[in-house]
């Protein structure tokens, strides 16, 4: 990703708006008793568009702002989301996104990873009480929501950040030589 001041401002706006939208809307609605989690999808999409560094830095920033606004211990969400963004970026750097299904599928898988990560951080900080089996339902349904949200968010961000993206140049196949008189 080519980072100009304009693109940087756009990225900051995306991070702030994403966190505000999550806290004021997505966290407070429940579809089938589960609230969608927009933030991993946002970080994964940015990682897929910009690579490992963009994914990791935006993941860290989103997590930091989230922890600040929720007055949670700082660092937990940052750690999970930076790992999620980094993995998405790593995929972009290693493989080609050749199918429109790849971004939503990655959003689904990595959201599950992020939610498990949040659980791991919480367990690391100490949970000395019962854990309901409904946690599993919550994780799975959140991943399905991520699949649904993944494609529009990925496309929207791609459009918004188009001037900064390093597109793979179209590889033209050399023409077959024409054999005259054959």
């Amino acid at each position: 990703m080519i980072l100009t001041p304009k693109i940087f401002a756009r990225l900051v706006a995306i991070v702030v708006l994403g966190v505000l939208l999550q806290l004021s809307f997505f966290s407070q609605v429940a579809v089938f008793h589960v609230s969608p989690d927009l933030l991993p999808v946002l970080v994964i999409s940015l990682g897929l568009l910009g690579g490992t560094m963009t994914g990791a830095v935006t993941g860290f920033s989103v997590g930091f702002l989230l922890d600040c606004l929720l007055i949670e211990p700082l660092g937990g969400a940052s750690l999970v989301l930076l790992a999620t963004g980094y993995l998405a970026g790593l995929f972009r750097e290693r493989f080609e996104i050749h199918s429109p299904l790849v971004p939503p599928l990655l959003c689904m898988g990595l959201t599950l990873f992020a939610e498990l990560g949040f659980g791991a951080v919480e367990l690391m900080l100490g949970v000395d009480t019962a854990v309901s089996g409904l946690v599993v339902r919550d994780l799975l349904v959140k991943s399905i929501y991520a699949f649904v949200l993944g494609w529009p968010i990925y496309l929207g961000l791609k459009r918004l950040l188009r001037p900064a993206l390093i597109e793979e140049s179209t590889v033209r196949r050399p023409r077959r030589p024409t054999v005259l008189g054959a």
Binding site: L23, A30, L70, P73, V131
Partner: protein, 282 residues
């Protein structure tokens, strides 16, 4: 050139990971810090505006969820569903707010809130997105007299406790959070125990450490115990309604010394709450 780039990337990544662990180590268990208070103070007004602006959209989405839920119920619930639909579809936020405030006033008048407590009403403006942290942010803070450890209720009963405050907002850790523990008693039996969450299921709490010789029955109410002794007292006033016993098998009571409790307050759908300020904050 390429190697230099890779090295720089690795350095940034390592810095971010180390930074996360350092922040976690420094801030864990220390409540809110200056940075969080500053960021929260800046964003609180924006969050309040966003919360108000997005309320109709939230009501619409929640209406679909409630409608889907209600379809499977029997005809006895049809009237309630119609009433809920009227509230949601009509987007009559004022009506819903009025009902919530009335319930809060009833809770005050009913004597559930003892004298010495000054209720401060607040609205939920943000909610944690993960199932692991059950906490919400409200738009009342230290400027309104809210302090850490103040109990929080809504019209149905106990909701949680204040765990961090800034000038204009406060973090409320719900009773469904993994860190929550509330001393409680079953009425009219008086059996005492500790209300613990069942993480991931805000509709199910566990009344733990009960006296297994006294048998608790399904449907009995659970209220805060509000103990006092040797110069210290519970942060929760006595007799605040918490929930009702849902499953109370004798085997579970005898073997595990616990019963399951459904909270009176709908912890997934909180809007207006009251912080009981001025009580014990031990």
């Amino acid at each position: 050139m390429y190697r230099k780039q890779v090295r720089r990337r690795r350095a940034v990544l390592a810095l971010l990971i180390i930074g996360s662990f350092v922040l976690l180590t420094i801030t864990y268990g220390s409540g809110s810090n200056g940075l969080q208070r500053g960021v929260s103070t800046i964003f609180s007004p924006v969050q309040s505006v966003a919360d108000g602006a997005l309320k109709p959209a939230r009501d619409l989405v929640n209406w679909f969820d409630q409608t889907f839920d209600a379809r499977g119920r029997n005809s006895r619930l049809q009237d309630e569903l119609r009433a809920a639909r009227q509230e949601a579809v009509g987007a009559d936020a004022a009506l819903a707010e009025n009902a919530q405030l009335r319930k809060l006033v009833q809770l005050n008048r009913g004597g559930a809130i003892p004298s010495g407590y000054e209720p401060v009403t607040g609205r939920v403006i943000a909610r944690s997105p993960t199932v692991w942290f059950s906490d919400v942010t409200i738009d009342a803070g230290s400027g309104d007299g809210v302090e850490v450890n103040d109990p929080v209720v809504n019209g149905d009963g106990l909701v949680g406790t204040v765990t961090a405050v800034t000038g204009g907002s406060a973090q409320v850790t719900l009773i469904a959070d993994s860190s929550s523990a509330v001393s409680a008693k079953v009425v009219p039996l008086g059996v005492q125990g500790v209300i613990r969450p069942n993480v991931g299921d805000p509709g199910d709490l566990i009344l733990d450490f009960i006296d297994s010789t006294k048998h608790i029955n399904k449907g009995q109410a659970v209220v805060t115990a509000g103990w006092r002794g040797q110069g210290i007292e519970s942060r929760f006033p006595p007799n605040l309604p918490i929930g009702e016993v849902t499953t109370a098998s004798i085997r579970e009571q005898e073997a595990q010394q616990q019963v399951h409790v459904r909270p009176f307050a709908d912890l997934r759908d909180l809007d207006l709450v009251q912080v009981l300020t001025g009580g014990s904050r031990e």
